[in-house]
């Protein structure tokens, strides 16, 4: 094919041919490290995690949920660095606790999507035939249905079906589970397609034929042989999927249909913002900023991962 990426017409590859080979992981990490933006993203992400988790040690949850209408809608001050919201709760503390939930939802939703997506993609790519046909048609159909609309309807319908529960000594709204599940079930399609194409190309390789000859079961082949080799694009996609899930949750909660009280998320902190747009911009600015920073960090990291794990990008 095309001799693209040739600022050095084939020379560099020849020149580098005689060096010590690195393991794929080492090579990937090395390339990742070169990406200044990706490293910055990694630090930013680490900082955010420290912020939301560490916050729990600074402010008890009661403080974050403490309603005092007497001090409502106060601008940022020394006592309340991010101001107070419509019922007098401290926004700084709420961004910390809200962040925990937002991040949790992002990770959990992607996990759900991973399970479903990998399963469907693997079956589709490995067995081919009518299984592939049916599954892919179904995947395509789901892709054509507009995501946010469907999620809103699902959230509305399932919203109150799961009760609040207790975990880690705190109370959570059942809607958290609902949101995780529905976002997960509406984002597996992209992963499925990627996994499928990986399986399609890898199953023809010789090492798979060899495995079959030794009598390895299909399931074992799929999970121990093919899947580990397809990890790279799955990782990239899943990483970016977390950002997407966080944004989706924010949109749904912003519209009032996502996570309910008593649980705070960055998204539902934005709920009141519309009403107090002019008078209290700190209501939407800080949670919005948190989301922006998180998504930005994840995008940087995802970009770096994509470049680091892509076997085709050799020279910059």
């Amino acid at each position: 094919m095309a001799t693209a990426r040739e600022a050095l017409p084939g020379i560099a590859e020849e020149a580098l041919a005689t060096r010590e080979p690195l393991t794929p992981t080492q090579l990937a990490w090395r390339r990742f490290r070169r990406h200044k933006m990706a490293m910055f993203g990694l630090f930013l992400l680490a900082a955010l995690i420290v912020y939301v988790v560490g916050g729990a040690f600074v402010f008890p949850e009661k403080f974050a949920n403490y309603v005092d209408t007497g001090i409502k809608l106060q601008a940022p001050s020394q006592a309340h660095p991010f101001g107070t919201d419509a019922v007098g709760r401290d926004i700084l503390a709420r961004t910390m606790y809200g962040g925990q939930i937002s991040l949790l939802i992002g990770l959990a939703a992607v996990s759900v999507a991973l399970v479903v997506g990998v399963a469907i993609g693997a079956l589709s790519g490995y067995y081919g035939g009518w299984i592939d046909g049916v599954l892919m048609r179904f995947t395509e159909a789901m892709l054509n249905i507009p995501q946010l609309f469907l999620l809103i309807v699902a959230a509305k319908y399932l919203g109150d079906k799961i009760h609040n529960f207790r975990a880690f000594g705190r109370e959570f709204s059942g809607s958290v589970i609902v949101i995780i599940v529905i976002i997960g079930f509406d984002s597996w399609m992209y992963l499925a397609r990627i996994v499928r194409s990986q399986f399609l190309s890898l199953k023809e390789q010789e090492f798979i034929t060899a495995a079959r000859c030794t009598g390895t079961s299909n399931l074992a082949i799929m999970f121990y042989h093919i899947l580990p080799n397809s990890v790279a694009p799955i990782i990239v996609n899943a990483t970016l999927g977390v950002a997407s899930a966080i944004l989706t949750e924010a949109y749904i909660s912003f519209l009032g249909l996502g996570v309910h009280q008593p649980t705070a998320t960055w998204g539902n902190m934005l709920e009141d913002a519309n009403r107090y747009l002019e008078t209290a911009p700190w209501l939407w600015f800080f949670p919005g900023l948190m989301i922006l920073l998180t998504v930005l960090a994840i995008n940087f990291v995802g970009d770096g991962l994509r470049d680091a794990l892509d076997p085709r990008t050799m020279v910059e």
């Binding site: 001799t3 600022a7 050095l8 084939g10 020379i11 590859e13 020849e14 020149a15 005689t18 070169r34």
Partner: protein, 328 residues
Amino acid sequence: MPTILEVKNLQTRFRTYDGLVYAVNGISYELNEGETLGVVGESGCGKSVSMLSIMGLIPQPPGIIAGGQALYRDSDLLKKSEEELRHIRGKEIAMVFQDPMTSLNPVLTIGFQIGETLQLHMAMNADQARQRTVELLEMVGISQPDRALDNYPHQFSGGMRQRAMIAMAIACMPQILIADEPTTALDVTIQAQIVELVKRLRDEIGMAIIWITHDLGIIAGLAQRVIVMYAGFIVEHASVDEVYDNPRHPYTISLLGALPRVDMSREERLVSIPGMPPNLIGLPKGCPFAPRCRFVVDRCRQENPPLISIAPNHEIACWVNVQTGDLQ
């Protein structure tokens, strides 16, 4: 015959993450009018890079033309501005590249791609260019040229595409045609056709040709002189007869030995050259071929031999000066 191109001590390097790559290391040669010069060597030996350097087609950065001259009609190409070079490219010096599928723009018709050169360099208008393009396509042996004009590259076969590329290159009747492995990507039978085509055109137009290849077999029927390159150096420079009958540099000998010949007896085995192509980062101490050379002596590892004339029209860069009798 007057000299049309004189390259003196050309040096090209590339900056990479892993260090400075020494791609072309002081090569010098001459090309006379109407002459065909073969440039032979493995992938990565610097043959393409040296030509692209002359044409000013090496992006700088990361490339660096570290020294030397390329005198075209006594005027140094390496010192010319981009503007001046553009007047020469395509018009006086033209290039044909290796893979016609990727070297032709897939979304523009062949007629368009050939025509634009004519309109640019020969000041033709669209109609004249179209007419001339048809003539050119016919000259290179493309059937139904008036229809082929409006076709896209992917609609041609590999051989046809290369013919179209050649048509594009000779459109303005250049003085020098640089052909960078034009037949490597083609079928053997098509290869022969293309070589015949170029020979015919050469005779008709009278242009000088630099033919780059890693295939010594093609050079035999095409070139008058040959330079053999290794690791950015010229290791042997002689007339084509001398190179074939009397190769003196161990690398050339190995190359010829590695070539399957019709007159080989069945018992003779193909000799492949042991070892790997050299790492071009950093200039080597000593002869770059030393690690793989059958005839290596201590001096080879200490000093890099310059080109020494061992006979009229025959130079080699070797301390050993292998005689044919030394071969078993």
